[in-house]
C-alpha cells in the first residue's frame, strides 16, 4: 500500500483537509438558491443554470488537482 509507505500523519492530514474542502465545495452547490432566477446570464443561460455549471467546473477541477497531487506523492 503505497500511501501507507509515506509517513501516516502527513497523509492523514492532507486527506482530512481534502474532506473539509469537499464539505465546503459541496455546500456551495446550495448557493444556487441565492441566484435562483430564469433571467439571462452567461451565454443567455439562466442565472441558476450558469451558477450550477460554474460550480461543477470548480468541483471537477478541484478534484482533478487533488487526485494528481495525491497520486504524484505515491497515491
Amino acid at each position: 500500500m503505497k500511501s501507507m509507505g509515506t509517513p501516516a500523519r502527513p497523509y492523514r492530514k492532507v486527506e482530512a483537509l481534502f474532506v473539509i474542502a469537499v464539505v465546503l465545495i459541496w455546500a456551495l452547490a446550495f448557493g444556487v438558491y441565492l441566484v435562483n432566477r430564469p433571467d439571462p446570464s452567461i451565454l443567455g443561460l439562466s442565472n441558476a443554470y450558469a451558477y450550477s455549471l460554474l460550480w461543477w467546473v470548480v468541483a471537477v477541477v478541484a478534484f482533478t488537482v487533488y487526485t494528481i497531487y495525491d497520486l504524484s506523492r505515491g497515491g
Binding site: 500500500m1 503505497k2 452547490a29 430564469p38 443567455g44 441558476a48
Partner: protein, 512 residues
C-alpha cells in the same frame, strides 16, 4: 427495409455482440467465486473506470434524465452535477479503503466485509437479504427502460412487455455465460457506446431543433415556461438526492464489489476521477435533449409531434421516460436511431447485469454457501448463482410489466436503502475510535431500512402510511434515525472480545 426494421436490426446486432462477449468471457472463466465475481482482483484502470461508470449510469441516465429535464427543467442538472461528483469522491475516499480491507481479508461482497468487521452473522444475513430486496427496485427500472427502447425502436412491433423480456434475457444470458467477468468486459463496450450515444443524440437533436444551441432553447423557454429554468426542488430534496445518489448508490452491492476488482489503490483513485468526469458531463447532452423536448412539448410540431406529447406518453407508458426514445426515433435517421437506442440498451444492461451478479453473489455467498449447503465444490455455488440470476430477472420483469412509474422515483427507493449502510461502513473504513458496535449497527440498519420503506410513497401506501415523501427525503429520515439508534445502542451495549480484536486488525491494515 422499413425504418423500424433498420432500427430494430441494429439493436439486435448489439445484443448479439454482448452475448458473444459473454461467451468468450465464459471460456476464460475459472470456476471460482472470486474469478466469477471480482475478476481475481486484477482489473486495470480502463476496466475499473468504465465498469464503475457504466454500471452507475443506467436506464436512469439515458431515459429518465431526459424525461426529468423535459418536465422539471434545469433542476435535474443542478442536483445531478452535485450527486455524480459526490459519488466519485466517495469512491475515492471510501472505495480505496474498502479495496484494501477486501484484499487483506478476502471480502468479495458487502455482507462479507461488514460481517467480518462486526463479527456478526446476523448482520451478514440482514445486509444480504435487505439489499437483495431493495435492489429489486433497480432491476425493475432497467426492465422498464429496456421495454420502452424496443417498443419505441420497433415502432410498436415488439410491444413493451415482450421487448423488456427479450433484452433482459440477453443480459441474463451473457451473465450466466461469463459471470461478472462478462459484465466487466461488456461494460467497457457499453460505457463507450452509451457515452457516444448521448453526446451524438444531444448534438444532432439540438442541431435539428435549435440551431442556435442551448441559448436559443433558454430564450424560448423563458417565454414559454420560465419555471423550467430555475431550481424547483427545495434544499431538503436536493440534499436527499445528493446523499442517496452519492454515498447511497456507491454502497449498493453492484458498485461496492467494483472496489474489489481494481488491481491496486492508484488504479481505483484514477478511476474515481474518470468516473466523476464521465458521470457528470453525461448530463450536459441529456439536458440539451430534455430542454429541447420541453420546447416541442409546449408548442408542438404539426405533423411531427403534437403539443403536449409528453402527457400522451405518460398516459401510454405510465411515466414520461419514453421521451428520449421518441425524440431519437422522431428526429433522427433510422440507422442513427438504432445506434443510439442500442446505446440506451447498453446503459440499462450494463447496470442490470451488475445487479443480477451482485444479488446472486449476496444470496449465494452469504446465505447458500454458509447456511444451506456449506463446504460444497465452488462449481456448485457458481451454478446456484446462475439460477438466481434468472430468478431475479423474472421478478424484475414481472414488476416492470405493471408499469410502476417514473424510473427516477423507483431507483430512489433502492438507493435510499443503500444509504442506510453509511454509518456502519464509515466505522469500518475509519477505525480510529470505536463508536459503533455490532448491536448498534444491526439496530440502526434495521430501523433506517424500515423507515425508508414506510416513508416512501410507493411502498408506504401498502402499510397504510399517509406519506407523500419522495424516497430521497425518506432516505434522509431513515439515515437520521439510523445514526441516532446506531450510536445510542452502541453506547449502551458492549462489543464482543472478538469485535475488539478485529477492530485492531483493521486499524493495522489501514493505518500501519
Amino acid at each position: 427495409m422499413e425504418a423500424w426494421q433498420v432500427t430494430t436490426a441494429i439493436i439486435l446486432f448489439y445484443c448479439a455482440l454482448v452475448v458473444a462477449i459473454g461467451f468468450i468471457a465464459g471460456r476464460v472463466l475459472k470456476r471460482t467465486l472470486e474469478d466469477f465475481y471480482v475478476l481475481g482482483r486484477r482489473a486495470g484502470t480502463i476496466v475499473t473506470f468504465l465498469a464503475t461508470a457504466a454500471t452507475y449510469h443506467s436506464a436512469f441516465a439515458f431515459l429518465t434524465s431526459v424525461a426529468v429535464f423535459a418536465t422539471t427543467g434545469i433542476t435535474f442538472w443542478v442536483a445531478s452535477s452535485a450527486w455524480t461528483t459526490m459519488a466519485a469522491v466517495f469512491m475515492y475516499l471510501a472505495g480505496t479503503r474498502l479495496m484494501k480491507l477486501g484484499k487483506a481479508r478476502g471480502h468479495i461482497s458487502p455482507a462479507d466485509g461488514l460481517a467480518d468487521f462486526y463479527r456478526s452473522e446476523l448482520l451478514r444475513v440482514l445486509v444480504a437479504v435487505i439489499m437483495a430486496l431493495f435492489i429489486i427496485a433497480y432491476i425493475v427500472v432497467q426492465a422498464v427502460g429496456l421495454g420502452l427502447i424496443l417498443d419505441i425502436g420497433s415502432g410498436g412491433a415488439i410491444p413493451y412487455a415482450y421487448g423488456s423480456f427479450i433484452l433482459m434475457l440477453v443480459a441474463t444470458i451473457y451473465m450466466v455465460l461469463g459471470g461478472l467477468r462478462a459484465a466487466y468486459w461488456t461494460d467497457v463496450l457499453q460505457g463507450v457506446w452509451m457515452y457516444l450515444g448521448i453526446v451524438i443524440a444531444g448534438l444532432l437533436i439540438l442541431g435539428r431543433l435549435a440551431p442556435g444551441g442551448l441559448p436559443q432553447v433558454f430564450d424560448q423557454l423563458r417565454t414559454l415556461n420560465p419555471a423550467l429554468l430555475v431550481m424547483r426542488w427545495d434544499p431538503i430534496m436536493m440534499l436527499g438526492t445528493i446523499m442517496i445518489y452519492g454515498p447511497g448508490l456507491m454502497l449498493l452491492p453492484h458498485l461496492w464489489i467494483k472496489y474489489y476488482v481494481a488491481r491496486d489503490e492508484r488504479i481505483l483513485k484514477a478511476s474515481a476521477l474518470g468516473t466523476a468526469i464521465y458521470l457528470s458531463s453525461y448530463y450536459i447532452p441529456a439536458a440539451m435533449i430534455g430542454l429541447a423536448a420541453a420546447v416541442v412539448n409546449a408548442v408542438g410540431m404539426p405533423g411531427v409531434l403534437e403539443k403536449g406529447f409528453i402527457s400522451a406518453l405518460t398516459a401510454k407508458y405510465g411515466s414520461a421516460d419514453a421521451v428520449m426514445a421518441v425524440m431519437i426515433t422522431t428526429f433522427l435517421h433510422p440507422t442513427v436511431a438504432g445506434f443510439l437506442l442500442a446505446g440506451a440498451a447498453a446503459a440499462a444492461m450494463s447496470t442490470l447485469d451488475s445487479f443480477l451478479g451482485a444479488t446472486s453473489l449476496l444470496l449465494t455467498r452469504d446465505i447458500y454457501q454458509r447456511y444451506v449447503r456449506p463446504n460444497r465444490p465452488e462449481s456448485e455455488y457458481v451454478l446456484v448463482s446462475r439460477v438466481l440470476m434468472f430468478v431475479w430477472m423474472l421478478i424484475g420483469w414481472y414488476f416492470a410489466i405493471l408499469k410502476p412509474g417514473l424510473i427516477f422515483d423507483i431507483t430512489a427507493i433502492a438507493v435510499a436503502g443503500g444509504l442506510q449502510l453509511v454509518p456502519m461502513t464509515l466505522q469500518m473504513v475509519i477505525p480510529r475510535r470505536r463508536i459503533i458496535n455490532a448491536k448498534g449497527a444491526v439496530a440502526g440498519f434495521v430501523v433506517g431500512s424500515i423507515l425508508v420503506t414506510l416513508f416512501t410513497v410507493q411502498t408506504g401506501k401498502y402499510f397504510g402510511m399517509p406519506v407523500t415523501y419522495h424516497a430521497a427525503v425518506a432516505g434522509l429520515i431513515g439515515l437520521a434515525a439510523n445514526v441516532v439508534v446506531t450510536l445510542l445502542v452502541s453506547f449502551l451495549t458492549r462489543p464482543s472480545r472478538e469485535e475488539i480484536e478485529v477492530f485492531e486488525e483493521y486499524r493495522k491494515i489501514l493505518y500501519s
